[in-house]
């Protein structure tokens, strides 16, 4: 007799294999894919009248081999549409231009300083501000997932959703908790973890 927790373990093992197979993907895309496929498996299990091992293995067979999914995801990475490729190229060009201008301004600045005979120890401070942009994490607690998604996208953050029961009274589909917390500062593109309760909590 296989218990429900045995079945959960079979699913977890599968998701672990998938996560390893997706190792070559950028972490944000990997998270997104695993989240979608985790949801898919729970939806498929919810349609079963009896949660037997055979039925769960059949669901995983239909989802497919982790290697196949990884191959598909990597193929997508390389054959992104020309529109996206050109916009990436434009970003790279813009970045190069900005760096060039920064150096130019610095060169002039340094030259003046050296002429004045003053020490030039300020270089490190400014180069470090060019590399990563820190932003303030917005407060999305109590918002619906849709509004939270919009707010985070506007503030240039990525996000991932975790379904879990917390002590919070918010309904399923609304944000009960977030990390990093609201008001803290994080690098642009950081993935903010959003917790929302599943349909039924004890």
């Amino acid at each position: 007799m296989t218990t429900n927790s045995d079945l959960d373990q079979i699913v977890d093992q599968y998701l672990n294999r998938l996560e390893m197979a997706l190792g070559d993907l950028p972490s944000e895309r990997r998270q997104q894919l695993i989240e979608s496929i985790t949801d898919h498996i729970s939806e498929a299990r919810a349609t079963l009248s009896a949660n037997s091992e055979v039925a769960v293995r059949d669901i995983l067979d239909r989802v497919g081999q982790p290697a196949d999914i990884a191959a598909e995801a990597l193929a997508d990475q390389t054959t992104s549409s020309p529109l996206r490729a050109s916009s990436t190229r434009r970003k790279v060009v813009a970045a190069v231009v900005i760096i060039f201008i920064v150096f130019l301004v610095f060169g002039t600045f340094l030259a003046t300083r050296i002429n004045n005979g003053a020490p030039s120890t300020t270089i490190n401070v400014t180069t470090s501000t060019v590399t990563s942009v820190a932003r303030v994490v917005p407060n999305v607690i109590g918002m619906s997932l849709n509004s939270a998604e919009n707010a985070l996208q506007q503030a240039q953050f990525a996000y991932m959703i975790v379904f879990a029961c917390t002590g919070s009274r918010v309904q399923s589909g609304d944000v009960a908790a977030q990390t990093p917390s609201a008001g803290s500062s994080a690098a642009e593109g950081t993935s903010v973890r959003l917790v929302t309760p599943p349909k039924s909590c004890p």
Binding site: L18, R29, Q32, L33, S36, I37, D39, H40, S42, E43, A44, A46, D61, R62, V63, G64, Q65, P66, D68, I69, E72, A73, A75, D76, S80, S81, L83, R84, S144, L145, N146, E149, F163, S172, G173, T196, P198, K199
Partner: protein, 106 residues
């Protein structure tokens, strides 16, 4: 053949979304039940991420009658346009291939 199939699946997704919004599970189930189109249900998700990034579909969350909320996929105007263009091109392509194939049968 596999390249052609990959290209066509993208538009099959757009076609399924033409009349109503669908969540990931029902969308991938519909494609896999159609037979001979996708290798497995899981391989559809990378494609969904891509057409979302390309702006052909957008997603939103909806509560589900049982279990956690669902991520739904909805066709954008760009997606609708891409679908219509593909339908026209596909018909021409299919007719031409059919005509030539019939010719070589005789």
């Amino acid at each position: 053949m596999s390249q052609m199939r990959r290209g066509a699946i993208e538009y099959c997704v757009l076609a399924l979304l033409r009349d109503r919004d669908m969540y990931g599970f029902e969308l991938t189930r519909a494609l896999s039940t159609a037979g001979g189109l996708v290798a497995s249900e899981g391989t559809v998700y990378p494609l969904l991420t891509r057409i979302r990034q390309d702006g052909l579909v957008e997603t939103f969350w909806e509560p589900s009658p049982q279990g956690p909320p669902r991520r739904y996929y909805r066709l954008t105007n760009d997606g609708r346009l891409a679908l219509e263009t593909f339908r026209t091109q596909w018909r021409q392509f299919r007719d031409t291939v059919d005509t030539i194939m019939k010719g070589s049968d005789e």
